[in-house]
Symmetry: C2
Subunit: 227 residues, 2 copies
DNA sequence: AATAATATTTAGGTTATCCTAAATTAATTA
DNA sequence: TAATTAATTTAGGATAACCTAAATATTATT
């Protein structure tokens, strides 16, 4: 399996294409370029190269965006598994705070061995989710089902348990933990503002209430509870 | 400190120049090329570039070999510290066998953060030596003194405690542990053969004896005991 | 449907790191 | 010391991954 994994650059492309195609749509060049912090021309070139590898890692017809082939999908899941296992490892074993693990995992994911991956997974008890609640593909590269509902879909009076928060913005993660928004927390919507989408919520039935906007609530996945 | 560390290629040059200049002699291009698995022309070029960085990392006059500058020496020690800390971590925390850690450490040493280095060092109790007995520079980058005597310097009847074995050859490491040659073991020389340098030894006063040649004994450092 | 706006690709160029092979310098031997 | 051998450097090139800017295709708007 190791020898099938291509270089770091391509691994990053695979990860981002995977994320961008989760909605069923192909990933487009510009969005990919933005995520990778590269210029569109560079991405266009590399996509072409990835489509010509043997086996091809992506499906691509000119101007029509890009999708992962089965081979590309496997490799993407392998990288994602490593990333999330490493994040979990850094928090649980080395005591990192959850806002400091993403960057470190982004570097480590490309260079650790299968051995390292297997050892930390075993030490952690084959975890199914990262500290941010992101699902970890199994060692057979099966991805757990995605969560359906975001916090943004709740309305006044409803409550829910937080399942997953976005992992890559340290400032946001520090803010979320400061208001108690961590996987497992129960949030109750005191008020849903229909025009701007803001939610006023309490966490774990506490006294403090917080107003949180759509850019945040639309990226937090929850399990809805009866209300 | 982090921003002073140059890229992976240069880190590897620094490490090898450090090792090759321990005897007081400058490192020469061909030896360096061999260690780095590159062609001499490539090394010559890169040495030149490293000498022109600001601050320069190496001293070099044409045809006269290369030495580290104080800046280069610090960086070399930083990389060596990381390498040996990571080896220790892999053995002590993740349960690797000592023959499997070198390669993994060679990749990890270039990408982990100061944070990672500090956390594993603290978790391990600021270790002074790797599992192979190699000294670990302190966080202030002070290198413990080198060991003076190798196993090859013992003669018939002498005995000694093993302090350090070479870390990078997995096959050799498996052989060494199979005969009990690990740091802390006591070896007694039953016979020293003056022509070929072979030593016949027992380990920890056991029954079995082993004949070990110069290529091995000259790379194992020991503490001589009274004989 | 024609035009304007946007997205994508292509063309030509840069830099880092490697290579081989030729040229040069240093070291060794006759 | 001259000639030979060995080590080192230089010259010229290759490749991967990036860039900018121009060209082209698609999509949206009038």
């Amino acid at each position: 399996m190791d020898q099938l994994i291509p270089n770091q650059t391509i691994q990053d492309y695979l990860k981002h294409i995977y994320n961008l195609t989760q909605n069923g749509q192909p990933a487009n060049t510009n969005t990919l370029a933005e995520r990778l912090d590269l210029r569109p021309g560079t991405v266009s070139e590399m996509i072409n190269k990835m489509a010509k590898l043997e086996p091809p890692l992506v499906d691509h017809q000119k101007y029509q965006g890009v999708r992962l082939t089965p081979a590309g999908g496997k490799m993407a899941l392998k990288v994602i598994r490593r990333h999330r296992l490493i994040e979990t490892f850094l928090v649980k074993v080395l005591g990192y705070s959850w806002d400091m693990v993403h960057e470190e995992a982004c570097r480590m994911e490309h260079i650790v061995s299968d051995e390292f991956e297997a050892r930390i997974a075993s030490m952690l008890g084959e975890p199914s989710h990262s500290p941010h609640g992101e699902p970890i593909p199994t060692s057979a590269l099966a991805m757990p089902p995605f969560y359906e509902h975001t916090l943004a879909s709740l309305t006044t009076g409803q409550y829910a348990t937080i399942l997953q928060v976005p992992d890559s913005d340290p400032g946001l993660l520090r803010y979320l933990s400061s208001i108690g928004f961590t996987p497992g927390s129960k949030v109750t919507v005191l008020n849903h503002s229909p025009f701007d989408g803001n939610l006023m919520v309490t966490v774990n039935d506490g006294n403090a209430s917080h107003v949180v906007g759509l850019p945040i609530t639309s990226k937090i996945y929850v399990k809805k509870m009866d209300s």
